[in-house]
Symmetry: C2
């Protein structure tokens, strides 16, 4: 079965534009798309990219496409090609949009849709590197008055570095779980909408999930955004991944196998419960 | 063999924006992509679309995606889905970009690359509906001061209608040629760069093509642009399709079969010649 998805880097491009740094967003794009089809059980086979801007700067395009190519190589996906468009008048001066389309493949019997998820299953979390590619409109508004280039002790780096941290691909860790024989019953890529919107998509009728905050480390960029912007917890969990880029639902007896397969990379962050729909964040 | 391509509607979107008419550009996008893979011998299997703007207007998005869906249905291609992005700050107010990715399939033995093209072959032309999706930056600049909504006798319609004429899909006529047993040796989709840039891509080493102007009707929108903008012939042929959206190279003895298969739709516009590279437009 072929599986396909398309997406863009969104307003993270404006952070790249503000910093004049174009080598990372191509990786964000590819990894985002890889994760989007991974949740259906698919591995990527090829990728196409589209870059549009007001005025083509060859060095900038080379950096962007170089990031796309590097990320494709890293996940074993062919970069089939793409298109570069110069659209004066459509884009704001200096701004760029980067769009990707990915095609992957999965055996029909192995298509993942969460149908086998049962009450009592464990929800595991795989750590994110930061915002990945979601929540940048809020983050940029909240942090607008900060000096993004100056290191902040609470971040351990500068805001710009923390914001541009590359969206992780979860292909390899998930493939290691499969190879170890872990019965992965569902995968949720945590993008726009956070746990609250993304996890329910794979839950069968009549079951919900409880996520226990405090069971995984939250990258300090989220604390900074929440404090500076006085953002409520609910909104934080609706907009950001809060430190977990991929949730993995497994039977409870396989938690230790998953942890042994990915040492130090797997957090047990919650469980599947009967009789309530949706996701509850407990504190 | 899977074949894929990605493209956007380019600055034709600005014509749609100026007219507030969003139902045709989705068809342009799909048909452009269909033709791009058709030249490799492929038929489309699925399509993904991406729409980005500053502020999502549900009616506008419905019209855009409705055009995409209608064109996909017309060519028997599944619209697998897509993404809608609201990117304030990246786009100019009111402007929209519409990007598509297509995946098609062709049997390995039937992949078309022009390798069998020989001196003496005929170049057939299939008519375009107008600019299709190329040359809009020049057209918009040249025609900026005209009233686009007022009918012009020389066009038989208003400039806006002529400019927004839908990019034709050549899938069905080309499939009819194949079904009739016409030995199609090469197909060139005439997009940005005109005959001069697009036809040589499929010509083997050591052969060129001569195109005889006057052997096909040129839609009046090209004459209007050339006259108002005082554009040289060479530039016209470099920027626009000049009335032929697809060139088909066939052996000379099959010209009459092609004409009988697509009555009134096929022009014999030139031929393949030995000993000179590139395309010569003779007058």
């Amino acid at each position: 079965v072929l599986v396909a998805s398309t997406d863009s880097v969104g307003t993270k491009m404006m952070v790249a534009a503000r910093m004049g740094r174009w080598d990372t967003v191509g990786q964000d794009l590819v990894n985002h798309c890889v994760n989007d089809i991974l949740v259906q059980g698919a591995r990527p086979i090829f990728f196409l990219d589209y870059v549009a801007t007001t005025h083509i700067d060859p060095e900038q395009i080379a950096a962007l496409v170089g990031g796309v190519a590097a990320a494709c190589r890293a996940v074993g996906c062919a970069l089939l090609g793409g298109e570069t468009a110069e659209l004066p008048g459509v884009y704001q001066p200096g701004e760029v949009d980067l769009v990707g389309a990915i095609v992957g493949v999965v055996e029909r019997a192995r298509v993942l849709d969460g149908a086998r998820i049962r009450p009592g299953d464990a929800v595991l979390g795989l750590p994110s590197t930061g915002l990945h590619t979601n929540g940048f409109s809020l983050a940029r508004r909240v942090l607008a008055d900060l000096d993004w280039a100056a290191p902040l002790p609470e971040l351990g780096t500068s805001p710009d570095e923390a914001l541009l941290a590359v969206h992780r691909s979860y292909l390899k860790p998930v493939q290691r779980l499969w190879a170890a024989g872990v019965d992965v019953r569902g995968l949720a890529h945590i993008t726009g909408g956070g746990f609250v919107d993304n996890l329910p998509r794979i839950l069968p009728a009549g079951v919900g999930a409880v996520i226990r905050r405090g069971t995984w480390p939250e990258p300090p960029i989220f604390g900074l955004i929440q404090r500076v912007g006085q953002v409520a917890d609910d909104e934080m969990f609706h907009v950001f991944n809060m430190g977990l880029g991929m949730l993995v639902v497994v039977p409870p007896e396989q938690v230790s196998l998953a942890q042994a397969t990915l040492p130090g990379e797997v957090y047990v962050v919650g469980g599947i419960v009967a009789g309530q729909a949706g996701v509850t964040i407990s504190r």
